[in-house]
């Protein structure tokens, strides 16, 4: 029994490992598109009712970059598709904090110059049958840019099994670390927001530099190139439509005086004096 278990676990690990590598067809696509893509699971087996993370990793070639899923002037962020069976649920993609990228013509994008690790939680339905093995078709597409842009895509398969308890994969540590590094909601009171007539002042005690990366549904900044990054502990964002019902939401990147970096998500309801 033990030998069979070891053999079966090895087989699953190989299948998951193979699922980590793109099939030959998508490797050719990847070579042309300047990005290599992998998909990993943090488990080889999970129990009904449990959740576990998977990770899509995109590695752009030197000098190439990928786009964040927030406010950009150009580009296209990666999109994923997982064909899970009914009742299985995939959570939203979790994105790490990007970097600002300014091009000639005052074009501001938020990008990733190095590997991009996107994490997604998978929920095993409570009614899932023990012993079920799944092969889940998965697809990811992206746009990689340097001076020029090249679209790319990869198709992969993710193998799972349903068991009595969770068995972690060899990738679990890496995936859990990526999950832990994701931006988290700002602790209550840690970011102060002072609304003015047509602007907002964000302040974080102890910060020596701040950057703001707006989400797509954020109250629109009027001059993000000039206002989106500041030295010191405060950042003033002028707003394009102060009377809008939208909130100021996005990622606030903070470089602290002790050298540490924090990334918090913020969501402030519009309280400008001209609206809200």
């Amino acid at each position: 029994m033990k030998k069979m278990f070891v053999l079966w676990s090895f087989s699953l690990a190989v299948m998951v490992g193979c699922a980590d590598k793109s099939p030959p067809g998508s490797e050719i696509e990847n070579a042309m598109s300047k990005v290599s893509a992998t998909l990993s699971s943090s488990v080889v087996k999970a129990a009904p009712g449990q959740s576990f993370p998977i990770m899509w990793q995109l590695n752009p070639a030197h000098q190439w970059y990928l786009y964040w899923d927030g406010l950009n002037d150009s580009g296209f962020p990666p999109r994923v598709q997982l064909d899970l069976p009914p009742d299985w649920k995939a959570g939203p993609l979790l994105w790490p904090a990007p970097e600002r990228h300014l091009s000639a013509g005052e074009i501001l994008d938020h990008v990733y110059h190095e590997k991009l690790m996107l994490v997604q939680m998978i929920e095993v339905p409570t009614g899932a049958q023990i012993g079920t093995k799944l092969s889940v078709p998965a697809r990811i597409e992206w746009l990689a840019c340097r001076e020029e842009c090249v679209p790319g895509k990869a198709t992969m398969t993710l193998e799972f099994a349903v068991g009595n308890s969770m068995i972690k994969s060899s990738q679990a540590g890496k995936i859990e670390a990526a999950l832990a590094a994701m931006p988290v909601p700002a602790p209550r009171g840690a970011v102060t927001a002072n609304w003015q007539e047509d602007s907002i002042i964000l302040q974080v005690e102890g910060a020596q530099a701040l950057e703001f990366f707006p989400f797509n549904d954020c109250l629109e900044p009027a001059h993000l190139i000039q206002d989106g990054a500041a030295e010191g502990d405060s950042l003033i964002l002028r707003l394009r439509n102060p009377g809008s019902n939208s909130s100021l939401k996005g990622i606030l990147n903070q470089e602290m005086k002790d050298g540490s970096i924090r990334n918090w998500t913020i969501d402030f309801l519009n309280e400008t004096q001209s609206g809200g």
């Binding site: 150009s74 000639a104 013509g105 842009c149």
Partner: protein, 207 residues
């Protein structure tokens, strides 16, 4: 004022002047309701095209920012015929469609030869205008290829934004914003959605 203060003041003014003169041309931006910036540009056949002249003829002008090698342009001009088909629907209604290429020298999509080839390859039925200095692109605040503008015969910007509602470099959208806007105008109505967020590759301006 002391000698030191005077010298400091003069130095500061000099620095400010140097900065102003060396700063790249700022992006303006043609927002809906604003006066469309005038321009005259040459197309790939050497013909001049003037916005003022078209407006004087009573035309509605569609501007499409263009770069033949951008995947989003390839989507709309090669893999699908979005722009050609849209133009075919409106060309008999006093609408002029002009593609504008603001790629700088050395950048993707630049140059007369490349764009002459693109006109043939994509069977483009309207002029492709060359703006290598990026002056017109910056006047309009063009950020992407494609980035669409509609200018009505009164010289005002009626639409600024995306061609359609799918930001993918490969998939077509369901709603063609430009056709909807032109349809509103042809019905004698105000454009219902005058602004959307454009999408595409960044315009390849000179640094």
């Amino acid at each position: 004022m002391t000698n030191f203060t005077t010298r400091l003041f003069q130095h500061s003014v000099a620095c400010a002047l140097i900065l102003m003169l060396s700063a790249p041309l700022a992006m303006a931006g043609a927002l809906p309701g604003e006066e469309a910036p005038a321009f005259t540009l040459q197309d790939t056949e050497g013909n001049d095209h003037s916005l003022t002249d078209y407006l004087a003829e009573g035309k509605t002008v569609v501007l499409e920012w263009f770069n033949p090698d951008c995947p989003f342009i390839v989507k709309h001009h090669k893999n699908h015929r979005t722009m050609n088909e849209a133009f075919a629907k409106v060309k008999d209604h006093d609408v002029v469609w002009l593609a504008v290429n603001s790629s700088a020298e050395g950048k993707q999509g630049y140059g007369l030869e490349r764009n002459q080839k693109a006109v043939k390859e994509y069977q483009i039925p309207f002029p492709v205008l060359l703006d290598p200095a990026g002056k017109v692109g910056r006047l309009y605040g063009a950020k992407t290829t494609p980035h669409m503008f509609i200018i009505t015969r009164d010289g005002k910007v009626a639409y600024n934004g995306a061609i359609d509602d799918n930001r993918s470099p490969t998939e077509l959208g369901e709603t063609n914003h430009v056709l909807h806007a032109l349809n509103d105008l042809m019905q004698g109505e105000k454009v219902r959605i005058p602004e959307t967020k454009p999408y595409g590759c960044s315009v390849k301006y000179a640094k």
